[in-house]
Symmetry: C2
Subunit: 111 residues, 2 copies
């Protein structure tokens, strides 16, 4: 069974769960109240998110609080880095072009 962070965030409900518990740790029941689905379905999503370590759990009596594992989220940032490099390069190229236009413009003015 493939279980990686990209697979995990492919599901919109799981992305919503991540956004929800990013603010505060929550129990499966409390999370499920926010969706039009059963507790068991949410529980399955939580299992998948836990398996790829995007969230962590903390038992408190018979309740289990789930919260975001922010360190793991940084892996998306790491993956994006290669593409960020590309769009920053393109931005710099545009920037260079603009400054060239600017300087040629001022040259024109000087004439």
């Amino acid at each position: 069974m493939r279980r990686d962070i990209f697979q995990a965030i492919a599901d919109p409900t799981r992305r919503a769960i991540l956004a929800l518990i990013a603010l505060q740790a929550m129990t499966p029941n409390a999370i499920a109240e926010n969706f039009n689905t059963t507790r068991q379905a949410v529980s399955k999503h939580l299992r998948i998110l836990t398996e790829c370590q995007l969230i962590k759990q903390k038992q408190q009596g018979r309740e289990i609080y789930y919260s975001l594992e922010i360190e793991k989220m940084k892996e998306f940032d790491k993956w994006l880095e290669q593409y960020r490099k590309i769009w920053e390069t393109r931005f710099n190229q545009l920037d260079n072009l603009l400054s060239k236009m600017q300087s040629s413009k001022s040259k024109t003015r000087k004439k």
Copy 2:
């Protein structure tokens, strides 16, 4: 049929295709040579990536060159922003803690 960028990058082959054509535009055949799969399978991946506009195509004779649509990649960055805020806040909190420890340390020294 759900067709969004999160769904699109969930597949490892599609992520590899994105990384591949980020460097230079390529034809389906050329792309397929890099994977242990058929051209048709790659073609289906390309269709999915095209449908959610992560890549664009340019016809050249009977060949079609696929290349990255870098603007669309920024949407991941946008999604990540909410989480980046969180880890930056935590970093600042740690930073504050460290400077407090630092200042109390120097106070001790002054004694």
